[in-house]
């Protein structure tokens, strides 16, 4: 009994220091061993831990600014599907991982993603026979990644949700645009497999004109992306809406009516 009382006294002397992280590793181990077997001390430790968080409120306020907010929201938007259980495709993993890697700098999460990118790159190199084509593809993905990152980190980022039409009800997309960057990006998911000789094309629809935003293929899972740059064909003003259509590979003079995605 005496020994237990002494242990409790010693433990309680350290509970506050534990709560603010002032114990060294050996002291933490000793205290936590005691807490594991002493409900009263464990309750006091919980109370101390909950209360000590209020110390954070004493810090002078600083602002991360709108740029940081835009960066956080853009990253969340890009990661929107992480918890949906859908297996991301190679290009999407690469873009998302690289985006987050750059965004998070040297953080551990970034380190994890770096390893993932490295693993994917290594695996990709091993399984693809056409090394030249693969290098070109990777370069293209990296270019897209850089552009998406640049756009997504802009404070004036605009994000448009695109939903699938009746021809592609499970498809979705996000159109990102930054006026200061003067560029945009479409990231589309779950598009139907393309018929032979066809490709997808993004359109900005103005009152009297459809302006191409670029053509893009999709991978085996229907995911694709395209970087949009200002077009000299665009009339003045803002587009009314955006859409994605299926078009013949030989570039036609006008759009088809085979629409699969449309902005809301």
């Amino acid at each position: 009994m005496t020994l237990l009382q002494l242990d409790c006294i010693a433990a309680r002397e350290n509970i506050d220091a534990h709560a603010i992280g002032a114990l060294d590793a050996a002291e933490v181990s000793a205290l936590e061993a005691h807490l594991a077997g002493c409900a009263d001390c464990a309750r006091l430790a919980d109370q101390a831990r909950d209360g000590v968080v209020a110390l954070a409120l004493t810090t002078p306020m600083a602002s991360g600014g709108q740029a940081l907010k835009a960066r956080v929201l853009a990253s969340a938007a890009v990661l929107g599907d992480v918890n949906r259980g859908r297996r991301p495709s190679f290009w999407w993993q690469t873009v998302a991982a690289a985006l987050l890697l750059v965004s998070l700098g040297g953080l551990s999460w970034g380190a994890f993603l770096q390893r993932r990118v490295d693993t994917l790159s290594a695996r990709d190199s091993a399984v693809r026979a056409d090394a030249t084509a693969q290098a070109a593809r990777l370069a293209s993905v990296r270019d897209e990644r850089d552009v998406v990152l640049s756009i997504a980190s802009r404070p004036d980022l605009l994000r448009l949700e695109m939903t699938g039409t009746g021809a592609a009800p499970s498809s979705s997309g996000q159109y990102l645009w930054s006026s200061t960057e003067a560029r945009g990006a479409l990231v589309a998911e779950n598009l139907p497999p393309l018929p032979e000789g066809k490709t997808y094309q993004l359109w900005a629809v103005y009152r009297d004109k459809w302006v191409s935003g670029g053509r893009f293929p999709v991978d085996a899972e229907g995911n694709g992306s395209v970087i949009v740059r200002p077009s000299g064909d665009a009339p003045g003003g803002k587009p009314l809406w955006f859409c994605v259509t299926v078009e013949p590979v030989p570039d036609g003079a006008r759009h088809s009516d085979a629409m699969v995605l449309r902005s809301q």
């Binding site: 306020m61 918890n83 040297g106």
Partner: protein, 195 residues
């Protein structure tokens, strides 16, 4: 939907449905607070931005990690932010701000600061609590306050604080224990008055 009228726990429930509007509302409410804690710990704006992004993306990716039964969301969020910031500071091998221990004067300036510049979204939630804690800290003897702050914001152990300040370890332990007890007492007294 006016997200500003929703409680934290209601916003967190919406996060499970990948509601970016709810996420933005939480960031508007607490983004600057998380950033403020982080920059206080790591002392570098760029690292603090990275930490803030990491903290909020963890919230976005794993909203279920917040257990409503264990307390308020802001308490949990600040705990994550502080711990993540300390980890980051340690991972840099103390090459950040605390490579050189902040002076007592510097910490005094922080506590004595009359800076009440706060964004409205935050203050509607935390104004009273923040004022109470700052008032409680101000009544502590400076040496107790310094020891607590070096541990909480500096991530230093009692032994490291003793070494840095050149004081006996027992003295530092006593200052932390008494300081925390006194602060808790002031806060409890204030809460009792408010009831």
């Amino acid at each position: 939907m006016d997200y500003t009228t929703l409680r934290d726990d209601e916003l967190m429930e919406r996060l499970a449905g990948r509601d970016l509007g709810a996420f933005e509302a939480l960031y508007d409410r607490y983004g600057d607070l998380v950033y403020s804690v982080s920059i206080r710990v790591v002392g570098d704006a760029h690292v603090a931005q990275d930490v803030t992004q990491d903290v909020f993306l963890r919230v976005w990716r794993k909203p279920d990690h917040f257990d409503q039964g264990r307390g308020k969301f802001v308490t949990w969020l600040l705990s994550v932010a502080r711990n993540r910031s300390i980890d980051e500071r340690r991972s840099h091998g103390r090459r950040l701000r605390h490579e050189a221990l902040p002076s007592a004067t510097e910490e005094e300036d922080v506590v004595a600061s009359t800076d009440e510049r706060d964004d409205p979204a935050l203050m509607t939630v935390l104004m009273d609590e923040r004022k109470a804690v700052r008032d409680a800290m101000r009544v502590l003897p400076p040496e107790q306050r310094l020891a607590i702050q070096l541990a909480y914001f500096g991530g230093l152990t009692q032994q490291e604080i003793a070494n840095q300040l050149g004081h006996p370890l027992g003295t530092v332990k006593t200052r932390i224990r008494l300081g925390m007890q006194k602060m808790r007492g002031v806060l409890e007294e204030r809460m009792a008055k408010d009831r």
